[in-house]
Symmetry: C2
Subunit: 127 residues, 2 copies
Amino acid sequence: MMGKRKYSYTERGFNYHARIQFARGIDEDVVPDVKLSRAKDGSDGRAVFYFEMPKALVGETPQEITGMYMIDEEGELVSREVNAKFINGQPAGIEVIYIMRSEYDWDRFMRFMGRYAEANGLGFSKA
Amino acid sequence: MMGKRKYSYTERGFNYHARIQFARGIDEDVVPDVKLSRAKDGSDGRAVFYFEMPKALVGETPQEITGMYMIDEEGELVSREVNAKFINGQPAGIEVIYIMRSEYDWDRFMRFMGRYAEANGLGFSKA
């Protein structure tokens, strides 16, 4: 098919590769667990990411972590609430909190997560 | 706040309760694991649900399982690909396959799953 494409061609095939970065241009390889919660009135939502020993923290190439960037075919979502976790003084993981302030934000986030989950072998299971 | 509400009031609070049923009117209490996959060109998607010892199969009140109904504030999604699993002749679980044929279907399903996940303590983790 040579028609107009909705997806960019990447090394992963025709799906645009939904990805997470801690420094622009460098994909994080470690796939996080993600917990979801939402206010009872449906207004505010929150996702808590935990990356165990991510490349951004323990990789050979030091990264200056400026935020967590969630990138997909629609664009980019950003969180600045990024915290490194240490155990006995050693780097252990990164926790990121992403806050959503509206139904629109939540739906947009779920579109990203659906793509990211599928691309990275995440499923839904009991937190 | 006494303004116009977007959500129905239910016993769970102001969020409309996203739920799964195997027989109309009877909520399934057991929360499944869900695996996601998608064709490389982004067209077809698939979700595989596994319910361990669900009420619909092993509960005290027999249910005639007519499909899996995923119900939320937007309406209802249905799968008819529902299979009971038996181990040594005893009921063990229910596996359900839900097929999506378009980007629209996938996004709609992710909106349901986001609501269901949040309401039932599901998060994203490695399948």
